[in-house]
Symmetry: C2
Subunit: 475 residues, 2 copies
Amino acid sequence: MIAVILAGGSGTRFWPRSRSEVPKQLLPIAGDRTLIQKTVERLLPLIPVDRIFIVTNQNHAVETNRQLAGYGFMPANILVEPVGRNTGPAIGFAAAVLSSREDEVMAVLPADHFISDPDRFLKDLEFAESVAGKGYLVTFGIPPTHPETGYGYIRQGPALEAVSGAFAVDRFVEKPDRPNAEKMIAEGGYYWNGGMFVWKTSVFLEEMRSHLPEVHSRLDDLKKHCVINDTGLATRQLDAGGKAVFESLPGISVDYGILEKSSRMALVPASFHWSDVGSWSALDDVLEKDREGNILSPNVVALGCSNSVIQGETRVIGAAGLKDMIVVDTRDALLVCSKEQAQEVKKIVGVLEKENREEVTTPATVMKPWGSYTLLEKRENYLVKRLEVLPGKQLSLQSHDYRCEFWTVVSGVADVELDGESFKLDAGEFKFIPVKGKHRLGNSAEALLVLIEVQFGEKVIEQDITRYQDDFGRC
Amino acid sequence: MIAVILAGGSGTRFWPRSRSEVPKQLLPIAGDRTLIQKTVERLLPLIPVDRIFIVTNQNHAVETNRQLAGYGFMPANILVEPVGRNTGPAIGFAAAVLSSREDEVMAVLPADHFISDPDRFLKDLEFAESVAGKGYLVTFGIPPTHPETGYGYIRQGPALEAVSGAFAVDRFVEKPDRPNAEKMIAEGGYYWNGGMFVWKTSVFLEEMRSHLPEVHSRLDDLKKHCVINDTGLATRQLDAGGKAVFESLPGISVDYGILEKSSRMALVPASFHWSDVGSWSALDDVLEKDREGNILSPNVVALGCSNSVIQGETRVIGAAGLKDMIVVDTRDALLVCSKEQAQEVKKIVGVLEKENREEVTTPATVMKPWGSYTLLEKRENYLVKRLEVLPGKQLSLQSHDYRCEFWTVVSGVADVELDGESFKLDAGEFKFIPVKGKHRLGNSAEALLVLIEVQFGEKVIEQDITRYQDDFGRC
């Protein structure tokens, strides 16, 4: 079996932890590893890492790569979409790349869901593989626990003759209103559509040809224009021609474009506990609560609070008398809302987007292939950052046209190159980088390098950078 | 008339805006000026600034001075208590210092109350002065608006014969429970005790001799040991002998120690709108609300919120579905509580105090006589600060035994002295201050000086400082 993990996401529902540059799957929302890490981990007992593929976009490719390196994940297995066109074209892109393996079974899985019992999940997946082997497009049906209005539903049809334990699909039901959701729950035989599918690549491509020919007809083109970006962060990308093709595709979900129309659908009821972790209030389904029903991070002093989620970072948080509330505190943005209104977070992000606030796009701590930086303060003509450079890594050789930089090493040893000369800076040492100075920062020591950088100049923006050489293909 | 403003305060009830080093009266809680500034402003039409005295403690004297300098306030009129001993000894100390003016009338006023109509207040004060002139100890009675359990009450006695509009005091009632508060409101003739008093110094001293002789007998000693600290921040302080005397005094309120026992009390009903601004929920009484009953600072995006106080600084705050909530966001600490539980803030501070958290004592931005500094980041072996030095001011000539400092000027021009040499640093220039280097930072230019300082060393604590000369008497 091959796995294709869909890793899109706009980063709005878990704001302010998520940002457009760091959507949900890249965050450790439900434990100490990120959702995409857990998604890959879950598959490894069944599917070797070189058979796991991820479809994501350019903004998230580097961080996805970074997060999965520890599993031996192959960077070339990251397929980069130039734009988002919903799941139909995304899966089509993957199927095109994998079309030489058309006899194999492909599991399509979202990167940002939560599954608490991986063993059951793997058993179900193996069973679904056997059903798919018989020529079906398999969708997992999640037994509903309440009349949720946020999911689509699938009505179970008769049991398949070919394989016991799987069912025909009677019909797909779009996200219902409350009364209809209640009706379906009362009636029985309905499942939530969790967006997890299993099929033979060949069968999927046939069905796409029948039902979504406007996408299927371009798949060969996509395959032809797909190239491996051969740098330290190798990814499969589309060249200029391929990008144009992809951009011309209609934005359509695989459900609507193919599955609802196909006569080869099969439903496999899931035996595992699943959550799409669709909003902050869904944390209740995935994290352990204390006796009062609270989920608190360590820096919280809570008095008389119940059924509340209070998640912070380093800042101390005092809370009193909160009931059914959500508090999410980050270095540069704060969210406070009632659980009932957790879906309103999207609207808050919408308001901030219109104001072009950076808090929508970029977190205060930005992960980089060489480590990370944290913005400590930003004003018009200067900013202050803490840089952390991992052992053995270096930033690009670069220069800036509008700013100079003041570097103070506070931990570790820095390798500094400036206009052809090289220096070592110990903790407690300093270097000035003038405007247009060609410079590079690296860490060849064994400990983390931590450096305070003051940027000063006419323009202090990330875009003011010229790269001359980069270990991560960013020139 | 002379005014004595009592400015104590532990800084717990308005945490995290207030800290033990910056209690409520020093904060702009109810508008753009601080409560102590407003208290002084309110008096100025009636009482010249040189006749206004403040009793406070050493921690708050410098900042009190700084805040009142713009009114021409006389630094020597700041009386510094070595320890807090409640209002009895505090007023006694002031009366001792002012005993040479014993025929004058003294108004005693808290520094941290809110009064919305200063004209009515001044009229009432003038009337109280006339009553005090007849030998009474006058207390203002605040007409109660609801059965508050957080205040003491005063029961009105018969009208005074000597002066119409004033009443005898029947009795003082300590903070009641709810049923008793309701009973008093229903019965009528009760007032809140607002802690504002007017009397002739001589009459007060006589009553103190009768009812609180253990304090009265030490007043001459206090007066004798009171010295003016003759620096740029002149204050009246007690010398070592005076401190010992003051420390030996019992901690007792003027109400309990004198007023409840005196037969010379008079009650003047207040015609002005008053609030003691006793907790975050009291902001409702003093600030304007929007149509949904919210009090929001500019950086808040609020959807579906009502009757809530959301006060931030620069961080963006998203809020949804809050009802009757309080959110107070500062750079280093966050409070979220229901209005009902606003009094619990004290307990939160108590928990943090036990953990010795600096967030209880010191704000992220610390005001200094020369300007301010803001802590941007602190770790074990380094910290990063933004310093702002006012035009014409300089810090002390100083050195540090355990840390070096890296200074980058980002705005204005710095005057730097290091080991006897002097430099000017423009914006974009840098200076390294080695361990034990004798250095000084000043701003002789006309614009604000802003400087980013990285402190690095074995110990990075405020206490690691040796001062050789200081414009503010801190050597």
